[in-house]
Amino acid sequence: MSILYVLIPLALLLLGGAVWAFFWAVGSGQFDDLDTPAVRIIMDDDKKPDDGDAA
């Protein structure tokens, strides 16, 4: 069980890293828009003007 004395501090380090990464991401504005990314997947960027005749 003494491996826990290593693993748990390691987990805490990872946790700290995750929190730091998230704070950085929030700070750089990556979470400012929580609505568009959900629908972005259905939008084709490369659609040519003449290839679609669907309604």
Partner: protein
């Protein structure tokens, strides 16, 4: 359906009858209303982005009439402008642009894709929530003006923001809330994991060193949760204490603070038990609740910024060494600015030289041009229509009339509903009572079983936290508000939903509400062969300048008009006046005389015939039509089905009102009403115990909206009216009126359910906890579950149709 009911495929504005433009989108001919919309639609199609049309939530009124010249933006390429608006590094620049007219995810996609294709643009971030766009480009390959022009070409109204205006407070609030939520949730997960070890240790034995170690790491993880994630609760509790109005944050803080302190004490003294798991879970659920509430609050559309988009970006300032184009934000009182015809007025000021007429529709809703000359005040946001003027700036930015009005409407939006305030006050009594009960419980158990006293008191504090009670109403209102804004209704007054749900009578204004309020001359027949149609229109326009009749708007022309003397208005009949020594009359058939008759000739039911005569001879016959809004009939029958009475109030003459009322099946109608009379009718109805919902655009009669129990105004109306309206409808259809009424009923039902549930829960949980039957972790689950049930119940409103 009238022929005018056809609307533009791009911007959904009605298509003028003399316009015949089409755009081929995905193989179908779509009608558009103007060359501007045609250009925009073709641009969108040619960039392969026709998908925009199927993804957008609704066409945006206002989008689609792009500013004509690209040249306007070129002032932004100068060094000074770049320095004022953009952050520059060696070869890159980055700036924030407010994008007026952007409402949905489809818009943000369109903008990102279009700008992303511009050469030299490195990154584009669009936030539809705050209407802001962050763009970074290489100075060598792209120019600021080309980015702005590209946005303008899409039909949006770009407005570069100086760094100090670039970040919305909402955005900062959201970022901080996200960070707190993440700390609380990750902290909770970790502490739960350690807690599993500790609880298992209770049952099957645990090495004391390992127990101490697990408690220690729990302490390490819980500390930031308490001091960072839960800080707003402590701060609010402290503010409540200072203001002597303890809110629900106080027992929350006491519970979190004391449980944390006791756990820390137990950790370092090898005490009986720790409650780090309960603490983190409690904080997490509270933070989650707050976060959801905040998101709902932010969703309502950012109207104040939308207003500032009505101001121009730049002004031409007259300085000692000549003229300079400067950003509007750099204007100060005392500056002399030059305003060309067609430009929006950048600040409030006094005309120093020049004559012009201005369109003040944004402020007053009055669409007719107002003549202005030296010494006259002109207000920011109005549009200079014809002359070149020099203006001495008196007030800028937020101090202008426009700024004041937008602040007023903003403030109205943040007033809390009366009974939420009552609920808050009640909650503060409940909190005091709870603290009393907790003290009694603590004292009792201290004498009966001192070792259990702390745990039981903690459970009482946690389980009875009146969160559910406090959330019951605001959660439902926030959900209703955000759903309504998706359905294109803006709730500007917190009391509106409750008042709407109690409405018994819906009164409609006629012009501008049931009809579009933009009368147009649909046909002209000239009887006098010595005159052209244009001559007749000029004379009619000159005569009608005196009239405040809604139909007079149809005649307004921006050309220079012949001079009229002895102008006289016969209310509800017409106008007479002398031009070049001849006596002209314009108005109804009996008013002008000369054998005019509109009997049986009018093609269209909604058209009104207006006659022009000179010295008793009939000269011309105009058909003026104010088209009905779409869905009027459906809206009225829906309202009747809901069991509400309908009535029509109008300043129009009897014939027009009666005809419309009969056609729409409205039994109660009032004609030739002055604003004063409308107010009296509403007050009389209120005297009979009716609760009146007034639907009107408030042009010339904003007090009428304020006098009704609730008022709904279409968004195109006067700004001033919007400050007195409780609900604003975006878009053209009248159907949102019924949506708002049905939604308000449903919201109040949910509020009642929530309150009932919260009260039942608290009355059941308190005795159980006081009896010592609820351990702290169960208390935390119980309180969180009760709050979540309330929030989830409220969120059912967001699926309302």
């Amino acid at each position: 359906m009238t022929k005018g009911a056809e609307t533009c495929f791009h911007c959904a504005l009605p298509i003028p009858t003399d316009c015949n433009l089409n755009v081929d989108i995905e193989g179908e001919q779509r009608p558009v209303c103007c060359p501007g919309c045609k250009a925009v639609a073709e641009l969108i199609r040619d960039s392969g982005m026709s998908l925009y049309y199927s993804l957008r939530d609704a066409p945006d009124p206002g989008v689609g009439r792009p500013p004509a010249e690209t040249a306007e933006w070129q002032v932004f390429d100068s060094e000074d402008m770049l320095a004022a608006f953009a952050d520059q590094s060696r070869d890159h620049a980055e700036t924030t642009i407010y994008v007026g007219g952007m409402y949905c995810a489809a818009c943000s996609w369109l903008i990102e894709t279009t700008l992303g294709k511009l050469q030299g643009v490195e990154s584009v971030d669009v936030s539809p929530v705050t209407h802001r766009l962050r763009v970074r480009w290489r100075l060598a390959d792209a120019r600021f003006s080309s980015i702005l022009a590209a946005l303008a070409q899409l039909g949006y109204q770009p407005q570069p923001l100086a760094p100090e205006n670039a970040t919305r407070p909402e955005l900062i609030e959201q970022r901080v809330a996200l960070k707190r939520l993440l700390v609380a949730s990750l902290g909770m997960m970790q502490v739960m994991m350690f807690a599993v070890g500790l609880y298992a240790g209770e049952f099957q034995g645990i090495d004391p060193d390992m127990q101490h170690f697990l408690r220690l790491v729990s302490f390490v993880v819980t500390t930031p949760v308490v001091f960072y994630a839960a800080r707003p609760f402590f701060a609010a509790a402290w503010r409540g204490l200072i203001a002597r109005k303890p809110g629900m944050d106080l027992p929350v803080s006491i519970a979190v603070g004391s449980a944390y302190a006791a756990s820390v004490y137990a950790t370092f003294t090898n005490g009986e038990a720790v409650w780090f798991d309960s603490v983190t879970m409690f904080v997490f659920f509270l933070t989650l609740g707050r976060f959801l509430e905040m998101r709902a609050r932010h969703r309502s559309i950012d109207r104040s910024a939308a207003l500032s988009a009505k101001l121009p970006n730049t002004a031409t300032r007259i300085e000692a060494e000549g003229v300079a184009v400067v950003p509007v934000s750099q204007l100060i009182a005392g500056d002399l600015v030059k305003i060309r015809a067609g430009d929006a007025i950048p600040a409030d000021g006094v005309i120093e030289s020049g004559n012009t007429s201005v369109d003040e529709a944004l402020l007053t809703g009055e669409a007719r041009p107002q003549p202005k000359s030296r010494g006259d005040l002109i207000a920011a946001g109005s549009v200079n229509l014809d002359g070149l003027v020099e203006m001495r700036v008196t007030r800028t930015g937020g101090d202008t009339t426009l700024g004041t009005i937008s602040r007023l409407s903003e403030r109205a939006r943040y007033t809390r509903p009366a009974f939420v305030t009552i609920a808050d006050r009640v909650a503060s009594y409940i909190v005091i009572a709870l603290l009393g009960v907790a003290t009694i419980v603590a004292a009792y158990w201290y004498f009966m079983a001192p070792e259990r006293a702390f745990v039981i008191t903690l459970s009482v504090l946690v389980v009875t936290c009146p969160c559910a009670l406090a959330l019951a109403t605001p959660a439902a209102f926030a959900a209703a508000g955000s759903r309504l804004s998706q359905l294109r209704l803006l709730v500007t007054n917190g009391n509106a939903i409750e008042a709407l749900s109690r409405g018994t009578t819906v009164m409609f204004d006629k012009t501008g509400t049931l009809t579009r309020g933009m009368p147009e001359i649909t046909s002209v027949i000239v009887f006098d062969s010595s005159m052209t149609e244009h001559d007749c229109r000029l004379i009619a326009a000159a005569l009608e300048t005196a009239s405040a009749h809604p139909l007079a708007k149809a005649f307004a022309m921006s050309a220079s008009l012949p001079k009229v003397s002895r102008q006289h208005v016969e209310v509800g009949q017409g106008v007479s006046g002398t031009i070049d020594g001849r006596n002209w009359r314009i108005g109804s058939a009996q008013f002008v005389g000369g054998g005019a008759s509109g009997e049986g000739n009018s093609v269209n039911m909604t058209a009104t015939s207006v006659f022009l005569a000179v010295d008793g001879h009939l000269v011309a016959w105009f058909d003026v039509e104010d088209e009905l809004r779409p869905d009027v009939a459906a809206t009225l029958s829906d309202i009747n089905r809901l069991g509400l009475r309908t009535a029509l109030l109008s300043g129009d003459n009897r014939n027009a009102v009666e005809e419309l009322a009969t056609r729409l099946g409205i039994e109660e109608f009032y004609f030739e009403c002055t604003p004063q009379r409308k107010l009296e009718i509403i007050e009389a109805a209120q005297g009979n115990g009716e609760r009146v919902v007034m639907v009107g655009d408030g042009i010339n009669d904003a007090p009428v909206l304020a006098g009704a129990d609730t008022s709904i105004a279409p968004a195109h109306g006067a700004l001033l009216a919007q400050t007195s309206a409780d609900v604003i409808m975006l878009g053209d259809s009248l159907l949102p009126v019924t949506t708002a009424i049905r939604m308000s009923g449903k919201t109040m039902r949910i509020v009642r359910q929530n309150l009932a549930w919260a009260i039942v829960y608290n009355t059941l949980a308190l005795p159980l906890a006081a009896a010592g039957l609820v351990p702290p972790w169960l208390a935390a689950i119980g309180m969180s579950a009760s709050s979540l049930i309330v929030v989830l119940n409220a969120l059912r409103l967001s699926r309302f149709n």
